[in-house]
Symmetry: C2
Subunit: 438 residues, 2 copies
């Protein structure tokens, strides 16, 4: 279902009325979406959400019901019928340049750039920010968690703790894009083709007459796909029970207690019973720090299921993304603009980001005006993704974005992948941009 055209802030609509009334609709504006500074614990960000952002732009329109409602609102009552006719015909007709989903990026780098008639470019601000900064927040957190797991699969189990069900859905998407291997959220599996993963809840065990009965019944039903939750009462006793019952589950899950110690004793019991292929999954308020500790302790854990920390990016739940006017074009005359608000300055002009590499490792980025010529053999990160309101090319699949993310983050200097996030990456402005800003 398309997103409501009213998924915007009131001022976008009052400014639209203003641009209409002042006959400024032909003015073409360029806005850039970027992040001013890195949040806590992050040394880079991972772009995500573009596919949903473009879907929104393609489907954007006001229904008759929308227009009827708007006409009754105090700020709009005095506007002429022609304004509502304008809204009736409103479609997004602009151009969009953006970094591919999965691209690692840094503060002050535009991750998306919109050039469109000013009212169109303005109206979409709120939705573009909400869609892109949220998925980017989760993808950025997920790369840390995936990295901490050191090639062990990470499953996303966080829908119940997400900021509502839609947030759970898109968190699952962003997490998979950034390297998680599966999600427990069924709608995300259906909608995006993400592999689904699930175990059983403690209630399954509690509802049975005994743990043995709970395990046996599940194993009969799901055979090789059975994952047994073994911490409802005592993990070692539960392991003994499943061994004694002759079960050969694909995996067991431990959700509480000392995970390193429990995984060791469970592994030993499973192995001595010949269940060497039964994997151990752990969960329970995990984050990248706890996972790194378990990995460092060489706990015999095969995969991690992560919920809250991942689906809310709990240490840095907001990015502070902004969407700022940088350029205007009226009757062929281009004017670059910037605001000078204290502590919230912007850089003027439509921009491109160039990434240099040496021996497969990124060495630094240059933020330049879009009209400047390429910097030696650096790669431009922003590409045309929409022209006149239509996508230029089929969007990469989620698998392709996931691959791109993996390659791009592996190409970052290794110091940026430390959990402490105490390393920096060189970002420069081109001389032309610096001169223009002055």
């Amino acid at each position: 279902m398309p997103i409501s055209a009213f998924s915007t802030d009131l001022y976008q609509l009052t400014m639209t009325a203003g641009y209409f009334t002042r006959e400024m609709l032909p003015v073409r504006a360029t806005f850039e979406l970027f992040v001013r500074r890195l949040p806590r614990n992050r040394s880079f960000l991972v772009a995500a959400g573009l596919d949903q952002a473009l879907e929104y732009l393609e489907a954007l329109m006001f229904s008759e019901e929308d227009i009827a409602w708007l006409r009754e609102q105090p700020a709009f009552r005095r506007l002429p019928p022609a304004f509502f006719d304008y809204l009736r015909a409103f479609r997004f007709s602009g151009d969009v340049w953006a970094m591919r989903e999965g691209t690692a990026f840094f503060p002050m780098e535009p991750v998306l750039r919109v050039t469109a008639p000013i009212a169109e470019a303005q109206l979409v601000e709120t939705a573009l920010l909400a869609i892109i900064t949220f998925q980017t927040t989760i993808a950025s957190k997920s790369t840390r968690i995936v990295h901490a797991a050191a090639e062990r699969p990470v499953m996303e189990f966080g829908a119940r703790r997400a900021h509502g069900l839609d947030a759970g859905l898109f968190a699952a998407r962003a997490a998979y894009l950034a390297g998680c291997s599966a999600t427990s959220f069924v709608e995300a599996g259906r909608r995006f083709g993400i592999p689904l993963s699930g175990t059983m809840a403690h209630s399954w065990v509690l509802a049975a007459a005994s743990e043995a009965e709970a395990f046996t019944a599940y194993a009969e039903l799901f055979e090789q796909q059975t994952v047994l939750l073994i911490d409802t009462f005592d993990v070692n006793a539960a392991t003994r029970i499943l061994i004694d019952a002759g079960l050969r589950p694909q995996a067991v899950r431990i959700d509480s207690g000392d995970l390193a110690a429990a995984s060791r004793s469970v592994r030993a019991s499973l192995d001595s019973a010949g269940l060497t292929t039964t994997r151990i999954i752990v969960s329970g308020d995990l984050d990248e720090w706890k996972i790194a500790d378990l990995v460092a302790a060489a706990a015999p854990i095969d995969s991690f299921a992560v919920g809250t920390a991942l689906s809310t990016s709990d240490d840095a739940p907001a990015l502070g993304g902004v969407y700022k006017l940088v350029q205007l074009e009226e009757r062929g005359v281009v004017r670059q603009v910037m605001k000078r608000s204290e502590g919230k300055e912007t850089w003027p002009g439509a921009k491109q980001v160039w990434r240099s590499e040496q021996g497969g490792t990124a060495t630094g980025d240059l933020i330049a005006l879009d009209e400047e010529s390429p910097v030696s053999d650096a790669k431009p990160l922003l590409e045309a993704v929409m022209r006149n309101g239509a996508r230029t090319t089929p969007h990469p699949t989620l698998e392709e974005a996931r691959q791109h993310c993996r390659q791009g983050t592996e190409a970052l200097p290794p110091r940026l992948r430390g959990l402490a996030a105490d390393a920096t990456y060189p970002i420069e402005r081109s001389r032309a941009l610096a001169t223009l800003a002055r």
Copy 2:
């Protein structure tokens, strides 16, 4: 549009298949939704989201498309056709008890209790948690912000920073419920009748030939409703410009810099020009601490617009809500259950929460088994809101919930309303509950 029945975790569906296969569908289960401990900086929580949770339960069903998809999934391929017939007829037919939206509550207190055939009660876990804990998170944060503002209106401006647009929508609802006076998010205004508020963006000023032109054009269009943003370049110069242009805006907004100093100089300029009724709104990464500082400094600020901190509850973005099986009933026999997982124990049995008051101030809560008789003149907090899948009474309006929230939080001991959240509130378990848990 109803929420997808697949807005759930995979294990809810595999367990549903298990309950079906084991002929356990007639077993009635009671689950309770609660929070184990208070998050950082909170001394109480505010219940919110019940209306959406009940909407979800009322509309829950599997479409033919859902069923066709599910049959193809590995874990479900071997299930008999009768299981899919069961899903086809699936509706939520249970009973729900819940605290009214806007009720202040504490850890271990059930805020919602579901009694239903076990598969129904289980399947809805993920959605109920996501819906209720998210709105509760935002309502709980909002009461702090509203309290810090000491009766000055607080406007919710956070949709762009929320975890997606749906999160922005429900954050606006929860914020209004908890005392905010307006939202900037248009869809929230339309859907929930929340008063809308908006100003202008910096881009409006930058796109005009001059600040004077930007201000004048807006004032012509919106007359008495005009709010001018005065920090694009320099707040004092902008104030001079609007005064010289003879404008009489309803308000001005300052979005950056030293808000206390700027509000003082702007107030002085406005007053000396006779614009004594023009209000001053401030915004820009505000939270309850910064607002409290501005209030303490007696800055001449009339209202606060709060974004990120509110719509993401940035200091405590997740609640850790859980939904746990506490009781089973099969052929008239009731069995209370609890899990004993290390650090994650639950309390058995269907429960009620009783709040005692003295002279209009809450003095403590008692968590008791539902079958226990009332405690002297204490008030029960959980009420029946759904019977056999249908709402028992019309849901209170959002205005009523807002009123209820205000009354309830004002009746809390004043020490609980401090921002430091260093005070506690007495919560006891009844003797019968303690005995049962042992």
